[in-house]
Amino acid sequence: MKVLIFGAARDIIGKRELDFPLPTNPSVKSFRENIFKEFPELKKLNALAFAVNEEYANDDDVLKNQDVVALIPPVSGG
């Protein structure tokens, strides 16, 4: 799965983009657990939301290999 990484999350991971394996149980919740396991520093963020194909995702949304997932740290536009 292609993963896009922004803002403070990118500073932690050190990359703008990652290829990350689809979780065995392909839910957003499992993906969250796996990415936090791989990059424990992400827990230091105030919050971390996920987008799938440019839409905010819920924990129980199901992922597919061709989805584009984005890590969305707290937004601060305006």
Binding site: A8, N46, A70, P73
Partner: protein
């Protein structure tokens, strides 16, 4: 009913936003201009850097404009946001709303900027004398 969404590294234009929101049926135009402030919690800010998830940010801003047109009695709304490096006094965001009456124009403008700050994937980094920080990212 019309909406105009714009995301750019170039300086934003107040006149362009106002022109879009203007119309003969309007009795009010409300324009919110966000500006870069020189301090945060007493610390001097030298510049800001904005980055975004462009395709999703455009979608989210479009949703906000659509909701504003649905929820308030307005005729048009423009939402323009700038990205890249900005200096003190520069304009990162403009929201212009046209409406028959001022109440709806004020309300829609407030709704749009409040929602933008909550949901649009744009991130701001503040540069201080002694370091830099992504706003709101850490406790």
């Amino acid at each position: 009913m019309k909406k105009n969404i714009h995301l750019s590294a170039e300086p934003l234009e107040i006149g362009t936003c106002r022109d879009f929101a203007s119309g003969n049926s309007n009795g009010a135009e409300c324009i919110f201009i966000g500006t870069v402030r020189n301090a945060t919690d007493g610390r001097t800010v030298h510049q800001l850097h904005f980055e975004c998830y462009e395709s999703m940010a455009m979608k989210e801003m479009d949703k906000i404009a659509g909701k504003a047109l649905e929820q308030f009695e307005i005729s048009a709304i423009a939402i323009h946001h700038r990205i890249g490096t900005l200096a003190i006094g520069d304009i990162p965001v403009i929201i212009a709303v046209g409406a028959a009456h001022r109440g709806a124009a004020f309300s829609a403008c407030q709704f749009a900027i409040d929602t933008l700050k909550e949901s649009v994937p744009i991130w701001k980094k503040e540069f201080f004398e002694d370091g830099e920080v992504w706003v709101s990212a850490h406790p």
